[in-house]
């Protein structure tokens, strides 16, 4: 008989939780995309290492960078190979500078300028698709066996790296799984796939964090650029980290 009250309470809790979940308003497309942005670095402070490998016309090249990121601001320092060691990219929202060690001054560069292979400078910065693109939910479909939202993102300002993106976001995990990037003329010029094997601890709890971004060139088939992310550590990064006056070169 003692079992009955306990069972009733358990049923009430489960039922109540179900009611409470059902009462939650569904997330808007922008909220879903904002969640996906967080897993791609749009956080209040994070440091990670990126190993970039690109294969173009059968030739492979590699770079390693230490990336400090806070919101839309990024300081990326090349650590290998030796020929680029000490080179830096400073990205403050849409403003970008390239810094050579020693003698040269910071050179402003455009977001279109290539980082390496198929990767644009903007690809190592955190994404802010939620603010930079208007999203329309096209449909829901499965990708790699996972149910996904498929969004059509259209740039709402001229600052963006890409004019239009088709973006698959996992329904369960709210992380970006795949993106197809289009030019103004509507031509698909690259496709990216994402993996999230890293996890980070933030104030909001344990979050999945990007571990690999693979960019496939759709114009020259066979050209592939892979960005592997490791050692992701949330860290308090002061404003001064991103100040050009304080970059030692």
């Amino acid at each position: 008989m003692k079992l009955l009250p306990s069972l009733s309470i358990a049923i009430l809790i489960i039922f109540g939780a179900g009611l409470s979940r059902a009462a939650e308003p569904p997330l808007s497309p922008q909220q879903i995309i904002a969640q996906a942005d967080r897993a791609r670095g749009n956080l209040e402070g994070i440091v990670w290492t990126a190993d970039i490998e690109t294969t173009e016309e059968g030739k492979t090249q590699q770079r390693t960078l230490t990336i400090k990121n806070r919101g839309l601001n990024t300081l990326a320092e090349f650590t290998a190979p030796a020929k680029v060691k000490g080179d830096m990219l400073v990205m403050l929202d849409r403003n970008m500078w390239f810094v050579k060690p020693g003698l040269r001054k910071p050179v402003p560069i455009s977001p279109r300028q290539k980082l390496m292979g198929g990767a644009a400078n903007g690809d190592i910065a955190s994404t802010n698709y939620a603010a930079d693109y208007d999203a329309v939910l096209l449909r829901e479909e499965e990708l790699d066996g996972q149910p996904c939202y498929l969004f059509d993102l259209t740039a709402n300002n001229k600052k963006t790296t890409y004019d239009r993106i088709l973006y698959w976001i996992s329904k369960d995990r709210l992380i970006g799984m795949k993106a197809e990037f289009f030019t103004v003329t509507g031509k698909r010029f690259k496709t990216a796939r994402f993996r999230y094997d890293n996890r980070i601890q933030t104030n909001s709890g344990d979050l999945p964090f990007i571990s690999r971004m693979t960019i496939f060139d759709e114009v020259i088939k066979g050209n592939v650029t892979t960005l592997n992310y490791r050692n992701a550590q949330p860290q308090v990064l002061s404003e001064a980290v991103f100040n050009l006056n304080l970059v030692i070169r």
Binding site: E56, K59, Q61, L72, N73, P81, A82, K83, K85, G86, L92, D93, R94, N95, M96, K100, P101, G102, L103, R104, K105, P106, V107, P108, I109, S110, P111, R112, Q113, K114, M116, K158, K159, T160, T161, S238, E239, A240, F242, N243, L244, N245, L246, I248
Partner: protein, 446 residues
């Protein structure tokens, strides 16, 4: 000796200040019991270095003209060979950042021209740059050291920089001489920062025809979501010497637009002035008490093609440059002095003085209107960085072409070629000093 003692005393004071700060910080952290890695581990994490060994050969062909007759004024070596060892050390631990860039270099130079061929060697070891910086608070940084401070978006010249006229773009393989600066940088937000900069010593910078004067600058920087700018007030002798600034904007994914400008109380250059002197003119500085302010402005736009290269177009109006009448007088003086030098008259000291000053009148540019077009692309096939630049003096029609190519062979070796070709008449800016200069070399990097 007194100057050296004064400088040593200043460095000692800074070193003491830094050590006291460092001890204080460590003590506070120890008391707070912060779970930090040990000091040795923190030093290991914050330590980095790079070694570059640069060797090059350079051929210079002086222009045959009155400004440097028979190369007797500037004595430019026709051939140069050099070897430079350039280690860079950096340590960032807790609140302290240290940087040290010692240099060792050896030069061999030769002159083939009359009156007689000669050659010379020299070697030197020195500290190129060093820096001690303290993070006083998360938003306030204090530093002292020998630095090259560079800023501004322009390629042709950085008008807004009151300390360095050369922005290193003409030959990126030659290191600029650094000067001594004390700096206080306050970063209240990501959008704004304020720097107080004191230029305390000329360091290794050569200041022709003038003595070093301490200068102080208040620099306020702004960074928006797609634009940035800076306003710099520079003071000398407790009076505002110049007001300068720059602004840049990312117009789209591919297009950048920017501007730099300055208004100066008294430009540093020398100007031809008619006299009863046998040469007819003397080169004199503008009266610094004159309240006439002179302005200069540069506007630029850069476009990155989908295929990779970035094309840059810049227009410069340089206010302190000579107008047509001043240029006429300037080259008249040059021609008369050169003629006197060739005939070997008793005026020789006066002639040398005149040609010495006209060889470098202390202006960033000789005239007022310039156009620059540049194409650049880095990492072509993971091998080649290439820059091609063309600069035209719109007032006298002379022009300069520049090629900078850096070719990577593996991860540790880089070949480079840098060439400057000047073209113009004897009474033009780019045609009157150097005809061509070609530099070939290699860099070993570890």
């Amino acid at each position: 000796m007194q100057a050296i003692r004064k400088k040593a005393s200043r460095i000692e004071r800074w070193a003491c200040f830094c050590l006291v700060q460092l001890a204080f910080v460590w003590q506070v952290q120890a008391q707070a019991g912060l779970p930090e890695p040990g000091l040795t581990e923190r030093i290991r994490q914050g330590w980095s270095y790079q070694l570059r060994v640069v060797g090059f050969g350079m051929h210079t062909e002086a222009a045959q003209g009155p400004r440097n007759p028979d190369n007797r004024i500037m004595a430019l070596p026709q051939h140069t060979a050099a070897l430079q060892v350039r280690p860079d050390f950096r340590l960032e631990v807790d609140r302290l950042a240290l940087a040290l860039q010692p240099r060792a270099e050896w030069y061999w130079e030769s002159w083939e021209q009359e009156p007689e061929a000669s050659e010379a060697q020299r070697s030197e070891a020195f500290i190129h740059q060093w820096l001690v910086r303290l993070r006083c608070t998360d938003r306030l940084y204090a530093s002292y050291g020998r630095e090259i401070l560079q800023w501004g978006p322009a390629s042709l010249t950085s008008l807004s920089n009151p300390f360095f006229e050369d922005n290193g773009k003409r030959n990126p393989k030659l290191e600029l001489p650094a000067m001594d600066f004390a700096r206080l940088v306050w970063v209240p937000s990501l959008t704004w920062s304020v720097s107080l900069i004191a230029n305390t010593d000329q360091g290794r910078q050569d200041i022709p025809n003038a003595a070093f004067e301490e200068r102080y600058a208040l620099k306020t920087d702004y960074t928006g979501s797609a634009d940035y700018g800076s306003l710099i007030f520079t003071y000398r002798d407790a009076a505002l010497d110049q007001l300068s600034g720059f602004y840049g904007r990312t117009l789209s994914d591919a297009v950048l637009a920017y501007a730099e400008g300055v208004v100066q109380r008294a430009p540093p250059g020398r100007y031809p002035q008619g006299t009863n002197d046998p040469l007819g003119y003397v080169m004199t500085a503008k009266d610094s008490s004159d309240d006439t302010w002179i302005g200069s402005v540069l506007g630029g736009v850069a476009y990155t093609l989908e295929s990779g290269p970035t094309l840059t177009l810049e227009y410069l109006y340089y206010g302190p440059g000579y107008d047509d009448a001043e240029a006429q007088d300037f080259f008249d003086l040059v021609a008369r002095a050169a003629a006197q030098l060739r005939t070997g008259t008793a005026l020789t000291p006066l002639v040398y003085q005149a040609l010495g000053t006209t060889a470098d009148p202390g202006l960033r540019f000789l005239r007022r209107n310039y156009l620059m077009l540049q194409g650049a692309q880095n990492d072509i096939a993971d091998l080649l960085d290439l820059t091609v630049r063309w600069t035209r003096n719109l007032d006298d029609g002379s022009q300069r072409a520049t090629l900078i190519a850096e070719w990577a062979i593996g991860d540790h070796l880089q070949l480079f070629a840098i060439g400057n070709w000047d073209h113009g008449g004897a009474r033009s800016e780019f045609g009157s000093i150097i005809e061509r200069q070609i530099m070939l070399g290699l860099t070993i990097i570890y």
